[in-house]
Symmetry: C2
Subunit: 313 residues, 2 copies
């Protein structure tokens, strides 16, 4: 499929009934601290609490009527499990979610609330893939990957499209980098909707696979990923990586202390609840302050699903 501006506009229009157009916030104090003009696209206020709702809904809507009837399947213990469940429910499609049997009860409960049908399995990647594959065969459901799927990528890109529609003169759009779906979609949005705008990724040093992949030109993986930004531990995929390599200006890496300090700034000063992954983008700007001085910078706040019992302040 060729990607064009028209294609992206169609995705945005098609998605509208199923998502919130989230607000864009600013903070006088964070502008003072960074010396930049920051615009925060608040996907923590998105349905189910994260941008993943966009990609999940778009992936399902891209299926034929016949395929929709048979449902969708994924394996995830995080936001994508909830997103696919809620999107499927909104579109009246069955959703089969493979979750590791050690997933927290609270996450299973959230998936069930949104109508997802859970199958538990051992927590290795091999077991999860095999279990999903069995469900595909027995139900005819279509497997949807959380980040390495073109329709998912295009859906995720609509957050940056909305941000650029609200603020067409941004110099940069920055997003955290995990599995690569959000950054790839955002980079396409910047390419077609930006005005001399660049897309930048932000990544924990502890899980810097995307930074290394950009250096080597091939997909590198994380051996360990000891980061508070638990949404960013996953690796890039063969569909999103070429888009990233071509369209992302650079990746900025940040330390765990920098992430925690930015997280605290957002909670304390902006009074919004965001997941640690969302703070990675702000910490990248603070780290490379001099490069962003007097620039207009859009930041994708990826989500706000945090376990309040396990806060690490």
């Amino acid at each position: 499929m060729e990607i064009t501006k028209l294609k992206l506009e169609n995705v945005q229009q098609k998605l509208q009934p199923y998502i919130h157009r989230t607000p864009v916030m600013k903070s006088r104090l964070l502008n003072e601290i960074t010396g930049a003009e920051l615009w925060f696209k608040c996907e923590n206020f998105q349905r189910m609490g994260a941008f993943k709702m966009r990609g999940a809904a778009n992936a399902i809507m891209s299926l034929s009527e016949e395929k929709r009837k048979k449902g969708v399947v994924t394996h995830s213990s995080g936001n994508f499990a909830q997103a696919l469940s809620l999107a499927a429910k909104s579109l009246d499609v069955p959703a089969y979610i493979v979750m590791p049997n050690n997933a927290p009860e609270v996450k299973k409960a959230a998936v069930r609330t949104y109508g997802g049908q859970i199958t538990e399995c051992p927590s290795t990647l091999k077991d999860r893939e095999e279990t999903a594959s069995k469900i595909e065969k027995s139900t005819g459901a279509t497997f949807i990957h959380p980040s390495n799927d073109l329709e998912v990528i295009l859906g995720q890109g609509t957050a940056a499209i909305e941000l650029l529609q609200d603020h067409p003169d941004l110099d940069y759009v920055i997003t955290p980098v995990g599995g690569g779906g959000l950054i790839a979609g955002s980079a396409l949005a910047v390419k077609y909707f930006g005005n001399s705008c660049k897309c930048i990724g932000a990544e924990p040093m502890e899980a810097d696979d995307a930074w290394r992949s950009m250096q080597s030109g091939k997909i590198e993986t994380n051996e360990t990923a000891n980061t508070i930004a638990d949404g960013l531990k996953t690796n890039l995929g063969d569909i999103n990586f070429p888009i990233i390599l071509e369209n992302v200006d650079k990746i900025i890496r940040v330390s765990e202390d920098e992430i925690k300090s930015a997280l605290r700034l957002i909670w304390e000063r902006m009074k919004i609840i965001v997941e640690p992954s969302s703070a990675v983008a702000l910490s990248a700007i603070i780290r490379e302050k001099e490069n962003f001085k007097n620039k207009k910078v859009g930041i994708i706040i990826s989500g706000g699903n945090v376990d309040l019992q396990r806060l690490e302040f």
Copy 2:
């Protein structure tokens, strides 16, 4: 001073350059839970993180040029100390803040950041009043009470005015009740800007002085006030109480468990950081659900200054 709609309009207009017009949020899920249509006026996004900025700024602006030069003084260990400091700084007026010597360092630091000049004293009310009185005499500064001051009350009312301008068809406006400034100002706003709208107060059972005062017709006090809603422990005053008695429809009391559960709902579902006092209003609606069914209800979210190190989830 006679209170008229014109007077309130003037206050609102005069305040504009010094405050944010805060956003009004809604939550599909909280509407489902309550069966009502809720509109949250987010004063947690106000400058310095609470509605108190409004009253502080209005009180200072009501002083003569000569009095402004000599400054303002108050005793407070909470939001009003920060509000008066920031408002005074914005208006280029000296602010003297009396704080108990056992006040947390973080609160003193916040006052200093906003330019307030701190005088410490022992933590009894008598010591605080005497110290403030000495500063009044030595500097000529004007004492501003955090809640029992007509200009403060009128300033606090502008949050509800904005809310009613955005949503003129509200059936109720609900606010938490502490010292009485917010509820008195909101009740006046509802009287002059509402359309068959009623103003209701919400109060912890543990500090139900306002509820008791409404019953007895005179100002009752709290002997103890063992509540998580630490902004609501103070008593009413002789200036705000007559306004409350005449214009507030009723006070709803809620338990500590109800407050904590509503607090959690707001944090987890709305993804915004609010102080426990703000959750008191939502918990009142949940407690008396049947009375609010299908009604349009405005809730004043009073503020978002929370010590993240001391979260009680």
